[in-house]
Every structure is written in C-alpha cells, then in structure tokens.
C-alpha cells in the first residue's frame, strides 16, 4: 500500500509531532502545524494537509489519542495528546535518531 512507505521525512514528521505533543500537551491540528512552523523556522515547508494522514497513522498505532474539545476561540476542534505508548516510542525514536545523527556527524567530520 502506497501510504506505508516510511521515508525519512515521514519518520521525522512522526518524531516531531510526538515531541511537540509531549512538550506542549494536547493540541489541535492547526496548533501542531503552527508549532511545526515555529520549530523549523519555516525550513520544513510541507503542506499543512499532510499532517492529518500522519496524525491518523500515529493514532492507529496507539501512540497518540484524540478527542473533541474547544479551541481558544471557543471553536469545536479535535485535540491530540500523546499516550504512554507514544512516550515510550518517542524515547526509542529519539535514541535511535541521536545514534544515527552521531554516526552521520562523525562520518561527515572533515578528516584531519
């Protein structure tokens, strides 16, 4: 199935979403996309719509949960929050990311 490819971008997107929800608490889709924009300082230029299939994937895996709530402007919106399984996954992902980043960094260090 086409939607199952786990390229770097998608993996990164998942990681950022989980991290965002962990540090910021429950957020609606727009909130998450705003935060994404701030964090990456607009470097990560993806269509905001791409976020929603990603959220669904994470929810299907049980890493985030969602429920209806009220936005700051008192509009009905769906709020996403990280689950314990999600926190665990985030730790695992973070470690492997750091390990990978370390390897890459060493590889790219100019040879003396």
């Amino acid at each position: 199935m086409a939607s199952e490819k786990t390229d770097v971008l998608q993996g990164t997107l998942d990681l950022i979403v989980l991290r965002t929800l962990e540090s910021m608490g429950p957020l609606h889709g727009y909130g998450i996309s705003q935060r994404l924009g701030q964090l990456s300082e607009r470097a990560l230029q993806l269509n905001q719509g791409t976020l929603y299939p990603a959220l669904l994937r994470l929810e299907q895996r049980g890493w985030i949960a969602s429920e209806w709530g009220r936005s700051e402007s008192n509009r009905r919106a769906r709020f996403y929050s990280i689950t314990p399984a999600g926190r665990k996954q985030l730790r695992v992902e973070t470690e492997s990311w750091e390990r990978m980043a370390g390897i890459i960094a060493r590889l790219l260090q100019p040879v003396d």
Binding site: G49, P53, Q60, R78
Partner: protein, 888 residues
C-alpha cells in the same frame, strides 16, 4: 505488513466510514478557518485569507484520499463499493436479474442435489471404524461355462481355512443373509436376518445403543443363542421397550436372547435394499463345518495396520497355490486358476455397482450448469453492450481496466451467489424427490443429505460460474473502444463484431451440450423400453404374490407339504381366484444357486458345459399353469408327482439345449438331490434379472421336495384386480396358522417394476435434466436471435423499404438461426459419438452409437431450434420501414 493493532483499527474503520469522513471534513474545515482567521488578523481580506489558507493546506481532496487510504483497507473498501454498485445495477433491471438468478439456481440446484447423492453414496467412507482397512473377499470359478462365476461366495470350511492360515488380517469374518420369522414381540413379524461370525460386529467398531454386540464367545455351539436387533425393529416390534435386553424371542422357532440393540444409523451389510433387522451368530462347528463345495458365505476382512491390500492379496495367492498342490485329486479345493480367492476394498464393493450411474448423473447436471452459465453469460454480454456509455463514463472519470474487470466479476459473483442460495432451496426440494424416486434403487440412501462438503461444492461451482460469465462482458470491452462509444451520439450503439461472434459461438456450444445430453437420454430411454419389452417367460398381469416362511422347528418337511397343500386348495377355491400355487422363489431376480448336479451319461468335453445348474426351483400345484409358463415338451407336474411316487423333475429350455443339444430331454435322468426323471421341458423364465440370459433351471415338484420349502412364495392369479384378494389371502393364511407372518404382498407387476427400479430411476432423472437442458438451450438461442433482430431493426426497415418480401426476411432470420443450430447439432453429434461409449454398461441391448437414436433425437432437436428462432424472425418481418428509418 502493518502491525495487528493497525489492521484492527482499519477493519473497524470499514464499519464507521461515514463517521470518520465527517470527522476529517470537520477537522479540515476547522484548520482552514483557523488559518484564515490568523491571516485576517494580519490584515488580509477574508477572500484572500481563505484562498491563501487553502494554498497552504494543499489539495484538500488529495489529502482526503490519502487519509482514506491510510484509514481503511482500500481493496475491501472499493470491493464494498463495487458490491453496492452491483446490487444497485441488478436491482435496477429486475427482469434480467430474475431470469439470470433462476437460470443459475436451476443449474446450481441440480448440481447440488446430485452431488449430495454422489457424496453420500460414493464418496463418504462407510460409517465403520477405520473403513479403509476393510476388504471384501470372494472366491471365483473363472472356468465356469458362460463366462465363469465371479465374485462368488465362500464355503464354511474354506472360510475357516482362510481365517486359520492368513496372517495379513486383523480379523476375518463371514456373514450370510436370510429371511426369518420373529416371534416374541407384539405379533409375529417377518424379518431380514444377518447370520454372522462372532468377530464381525466388534471389528466394525460401532457401539450398540443398548446392551452389547455379539462377540466371538456367542459364536460357538455351546454358547446361549444370542441376538442383536436393529433399532427400527426394536421400535416396530417391541415398542422401544427399554428392558429389551435379556428378553427371549424366537427366530424361526428357535429361542434366542436379545443381548443388544444397534443404533438407528447402523446397517450391516451396508448398501443392501433389505436392511437386516436381526443379527445372529453363525455358530460354525470347526469339527464339522459342512460341505466344502457349498458356497454361501460372504467374507469381510480387516487388514492389519501397515499391511496393504496388495500384500494381503499376495499372501492369499501363495496360500491358494499351496492348498492346490496339497489337495488330493478330484476334491474341491482352492486353485490359482480354477478357484482363486480375491480381495477388494470393501467400500468399492458396496458402491461399485452404482458408480457409473452416479457419474453419468453428475456429468448430466454438469452439462445443465454449463448451459445455464452460457445463457447468463450471453445475457451479461448483451447488457455490457447496452451499458457501453455507462462504462465509457466510468473510464473517463478514471476507472482503470482492473477496476472495471473487478466490477464485472463482482456483478457475476452477486448473481451466482444469489443463484446458489436459491439453488440450495431447489436442491433440498429436489433431494426429497430423488429419495422418494430412488427407493430401493441406490444403496446407502438413508445416509443421503447435505453436509459441509456439499455446501463447499455449491460455493465452489458458484464461484467458478461467476468467473466464467463475469468475464464474458470483458470480451466486449476488449473488442470495443470505450472512448468511441462515449463520443457516439444517441442510440446508435451497435454490437461489436467479435462480441457477436462470441455470442453465437456460445449458443452453438450450448446447443451441442444439450444435444449430447439428449442423445444420452435417448439411448437410456430406448434401452429402458427394450427392458420393458423383455419376455420374462410368464404372464405377469393379474398375479398376486406374497412370502411366507415355515420354521423347521414347527413344521418338519411332511407337515410343511400338507400345510402348503391345504393353503393352495383354500386359495384356489376363493371367489375371484383363477388358480393359486406356491413356489420357492420369485422371478425375475433370484440369487444364483449354481449347484453341482449329476447328469446321467454326461460326457464332459473341453469348453463344454459342466455338471452344474444355475437355478433350482420348487414348484407348487399347477405352478406353470398359474404363471403362464410355456410347455415346450412332455408334461407339467400333476398328481402323479406326489410323495412316494417316482421322482420327477422339469427343466427349462436352456438346460435341455445345454445338456442334450438336438435331442429330447424327456426321460433323461439327473441328480439334484436324488436321481430324477425329466418329464417336461418348459420355456425359459428370467431369474438373473431382465437384462441377463435366463440360465439353466430345474423344477422339483413340491410334494417331493419338503426339505427345501422353509420359505415359499404364494402366487395367485386373479380374475380381476389382484390387490382385491389381499384380505382374503391374509385370512386364509391366518386360518391355517395365526403365527405365520406374511410379507411382501405385492402384484407380480410391482415385483417386475422393482427389479428395474435402478434403470428407471436413472432414466427418469436423465430425462428431467435433458428436458431442462433443452429448455435452457432453446431460451439461449431465442435470446440471441431476438437480440440480433433488435440490433438489425433499421437494416430490416431498409430491406422492406427496398422491396424485400416478408417471407424473405423470415427465411433470412430463420436461416441464420438454423445455421447456428446445425453447427451446434453437428458438434453435439460428434460429442455424443465420443461420450456415449461411457454409457455402455448402463445400456441394455442398445449400441451406444445407435444411429436411429442419434437421428431420432437430432430431428426434434432441430425442430425446437426452429421454433425458438421463429418468434424473433416473425418480429423481424413486422418491422415498420417508416419508423425504423426515422430512427436513423
């Protein structure tokens, strides 16, 4: 593969698609509003803000599509879509759907019904423990005149020898059947008994419903006589008495203790028409087992675990050779060439006789299903043409070829599954009819029913059928350019040439199939009629028959003769009775005796007859006169042939010709039981079945044969309706001895009918199936011709406008149909030519390639085709040129 959890949530999503769609819509809406609100705060106009928000969000519909794909299982979801679409399409044309479903129901139903018969009778293992290790053993006399005696019985001493010497068998047991009187229940009843050796019931491994079964301990002369009774008899004669075990009954006057009741479904020997009611021990005396040349036992063996039938056969051959070498000359002994022992799988022996008939029926219904499928395929193909624009629209908005193909398959599937459901209903009804019609003609009929295997079969053929005709519209798709048809304006959609060809080819094929079936049925019918016309050797009309049995313990030979003599006198003087007699056994179907019989002055010659007679018969007062058997030479029996008078015998024509060819048999002497003088030669009477030669037969006068009259059949010739004599017959028997049960009271015509119940049953079913096939094929060609005429309306309009005569158009259309019919008939005749040889074993007196039958079937068949083409042709002649041309 995604984790299980994801799969589960996707599966769940299948059932809440609408809710999830709404949720996404709302989320997207909310997102866009929030972005727009932000932009407005930054100073944009609401319109700009809203479109900027959409830009940033990306393609809303693409995102939704991705979302849906991630959410559910796309394949299943589009399948559900296809199913709903197909259901809607089929609902929209109820006429088409009804015809298609009914056609399929007919085909699938017939197949299901016949398969459940085949499944229960032929395929299912026998209901015993480890039935695959059971084998039936026979002796044979390959050198016997007239083709030898095959699958013959085994004598008691031979059985004991085999049981003692063989090592391949875990158990080896013998049984024989008879009828008996049973007293001790509410009233005396006539029962079928199975006399068996002690190990037989234990080796079958079926536990009794009550008490115990017979064991080897019961099978000795010293043991208390014990019997096990059938469930049916227990209910019938003992009212289901729960304290039956231990009760004393009398079987043929001998006391027996009931030790057990078998469960309702138990039957041994299996596949017999007259299922046994009681099982009693054989009680052979190993010291005096009886005559070695008296072959009357059937043998069943259970192979030891790990021993193959082949190895057991080798051992039997070795033993037979050893015995043959050790036997003194001119004694009866097993011999590798003259008297071998053979073993066959037990299951084959039970169902082997009906297998050809079963396979024939299965093939016949297979043909019916094929024809039904062709009809539905043709319907679908015609519809695919009518739906060209719809299909083109679907292609235009992005349906791929695979999706379209799947759509057709799903439509086919829906049709065939609906057909299967209706077909199952038909099958249940049909099975009842089959069971009612097959009474006494197929073994294991009680086991026939629908089980999981049958349901699987039904589903299987439904799926196969759906693929077959689901793909039919594809022919059209492949041949027509869908884009062209979208461009084509209005109603001028014509059938593509290849689709038309395919449809004609399919109709020709289905005509061919129907003709094969019809020719097969025609052959069976001719053979059946021939069977009806067989000379049985007597006049069966207005004869009433019944069976009585005189137990030896109550009636020693002398008193038997006097009782039977009084009975015949009483019956003969009844009003409405022309004459009355008794006889040892009723034609036309009796077990062969093949008794060694000394013949005075007999000189054996190689290849000539041996001193053996196929049938011994005991004849009562005026037997030949009552039956209407012809006198060829000499005289019938009369009062001169009484007890103490010179011993006499009458022989049939075949016997006279066999032993005294070209000479008179009168005055010759033979020794069936003692030396007797032949006083008459009578016409042959069928004994081995209507389809077999009569065989040699001799008749003993009953007054000189008291020993062999344990059982007798009463035969009464009535002046009018024989059944009106039944109460009087019962009353006369009861007046002589009220303890004598009387059984099988029926007219001789019914006896003859019962003797041919299997060919009648098979012929009946084949006739039914081929009628259905013919009707379907006629509908098929009618449909194609109608369609073709409708397609060519404007062409006919032009022709008429140009001056074509109505008769010319009629001839043109009929000619087209007839060409199809001829092609189909030719192919059918060739097919029948190749296939009818498989019917050879079922055809009595008819060559499988009988030209008269081929012709006699093909001509009416062509007439039916003509009739089916006539209506569409008539319609073609009624085309109004004005309106037809205006449509252009």
């Amino acid at each position: 593969m995604p984790p299980l959890r994801v799969l589960a949530s996707r599966l769940l999503a299948l059932f809440s698609r609408r809710r999830l769609d709404q949720r996404l819509d709302e989320e997207v809406q909310c997102h866009l509003e929030m972005v727009a609100a932000e932009k407005i705060r930054q100073g944009m106009t609401p319109e700009d803000a809203s479109s900027a928000a959409r830009r940033e969000f990306g393609g809303v519909e693409q995102i939704k599509e991705t979302y849906r794909d991630a959410r559910g299982i796309p394949f299943v979801e589009s399948l559900i879509q296809d199913l709903r679409y197909a259901a809607r399409v089929l609902r929209k044309s109820p006429g088409f759907t009804t015809v298609a479903v009914l056609t399929l129901a007919l085909g699938i139903g017939a197949n299901t019904a016949i398969f459940s018969v085949v499944n229960s009778v032929v395929l299912k293992p026998l209901p015993y423990a480890a039935p695959e290790r059971l084998a039936r053993l026979y002796s044979e006399f390959p050198g016997f005149p007239g083709g030898g005696l095959h699958k013959f019985w085994i004598s008691p001493p031979e059985f004991l020898d085999l049981r003692r010497e063989t090592t391949s068998w875990e158990s080896l047991d013998a049984w024989t059947g008879a009828t008996a009187n049973l007293a001790g229940g509410a009233e005396p009843v006539r029962v079928t008994e199975c006399i068996l050796s002690g190990g037989l019931l234990p080796t079958l491994g079926v536990q009794p419903a009550l008490g115990r079964f017979l064991t080897p301990q019961d099978d000795t002369k010293a043991a208390n006589p014990a019997t096990v009774i059938a469930h049916g008899l227990w209910l019938r004669a003992f009212g289901g008495d729960p304290r039956i075990v231990g009760r004393d009954v009398r079987v043929n006057g001998q006391p027996f203790t009931v030790v057990g009741v078998m469960p309702p479904e138990f039957q041994f020997p299996p596949g017999e028409i007259d299922a046994p009611d009681v099982w009693i021990p054989l009680r052979l005396d190993p010291a005096r087992p009886g005559d070695r040349s008296h072959h009357g036992l059937s043998l069943i063996g259970r192979l030891k675990n790990g021993i193959s039938l082949g190895r057991a056969r080798e051992e039997l051959n070795r033993l037979v050779s050893r015995w043959a070498a050790a036997a003194p000359p001119r004694t009866h002994a097993f011999h590798p060439k003259d008297h071998p022992v053979l073993a066959f799988p037990f299951h084959d022996e039970v169902v082997g006789a009906v297998r050809p008939a079963m396979l024939t029926m299965l093939a016949a219904v297979g043909f019916v299903l094929l024809i039904a499928c062709v009809n539905v395929a043709n319907l679908l193909l015609a519809r695919a043409e009518a739906r060209q624009r719809e299909i083109a629209v679907r292609v235009a908005i992005g349906a791929g070829a695979r999706r379209l193909l799947r759509q057709f398959l799903v439509e086919g599937l829906l049709l065939s599954l609906s057909g299967a459901v209706c077909g199952l209903g038909l099958a249940f009804g049909g099975l009842r009819l089959i069971l009612a019609a097959s009474r006494n003609s197929i073994p294991r009929a009680a086991e026939i029913g629908v089980d999981l295997r049958v349901l699987g079969f039904t589903l299987g053929i439904a799926l196969l059928a759906s693929v077959f005709f689901g793909l039919a519209p594809l022919v059209h798709l492949l041949s027509a350019n869908v884009h062209d048809s979208l461009k084509a304006a209005g109603s001028r959609l014509t059938a593509s040439v290849p689709a038309h060809r395919v449809r004609q080819a399919m109709v020709a094929a289905q005509l061919a199939l129907a003709l094969v079936l019809l020719i097969g049925t025609g052959l069976m019918l001719r053979a059946f009629w021939k069977l009806q016309a067989v000379q049985v050797g007597f006049q069966p009309s207005r004869l009433l028959t019944a069976q009585i049995r005189l137990p030896g313990s109550v009636y020693p030979p002398n008193s038997r003769i006097s009782l039977l003599s009084r009975l015949q006198q009483r019956l003969a003087t009844l009003p409405g009775v022309v004459s009355a007699t008794i006889v040892g056994g009723l034609p036309p179907l009796r077990p062969v005796d093949a008794n060694d019989t000394e013949i005075e002055g007999f000189v054996p010659r190689p290849g000539g007859p041996i001193q053996n007679v196929d049938y011994y018969q005991v004849a009562g007062e005026r037997y030949f006169e009552t039956m209407g058997i012809a006198l060829i030479e000499g005289r019938f029996f009369d009062p001169r042939d009484g007890e103490g008078a010179p011993a006499t015998v009458i022989v049939n024509q075949t016997m006279a010709r066999t032993f005294w060819p070209g000479q008179s048999a009168i005055g010759r002497r033979i020794n069936p039981d003692k030396w007797r003088t032949i006083v008459g030669v009578v016409g042959d009477v069928k004994n081995a079945g209507l389809d077999k030669p009569a065989g040699t037969e001799l008749y003993l006068p009953y007054r000189q044969a008291g020993d062999s009259l344990g059982g007798a059949c009463v035969v009464v010739r009535a002046a009018r309706d024989p059944l009106s004599l039944v109460p009087a017959l019962r009353a006369q028997v009861a007046a002589l001895d009220s303890s004598l049960p009387i059984a099988s009271v029926q007219t001789m015509e019914d006896v003859l009918l019962a003797a041919q119940s299997r060919p009648r049953f098979l012929t009946l079913l084949l006739t039914l199936f081929s009628t259905v096939a013919l009707a379907l094929a006629a509908v098929g060609i009618y449909g194609v011709m109608s369609y073709s005429v409708a397609q060519r309306t404007s062409e006919f309009g032009i022709r008429v406008a140009m001056g074509a005569q109505r008769t010319q158009i009629l001839g043109m259309v009929i000619g087209q149909g007839l060409r199809l019919g001829l092609i189909g008939s030719l192919a059918g005749a060739v097919g029948a030519f190749a296939l009818t040889r498989f019917l050879r074993g079922l055809l009595f007196g008819i060559d499988p390639l009988d030209a008269a039958t081929f012709l006699a079937t093909a001509l009416p068949f062509l007439a039916v085709i003509l009739a089916a083409c006539y209506l569409p042709a008539l319609r073609a002649t009624r085309v109004d040129p004005n309106s037809a041309l205006r449509q252009e």
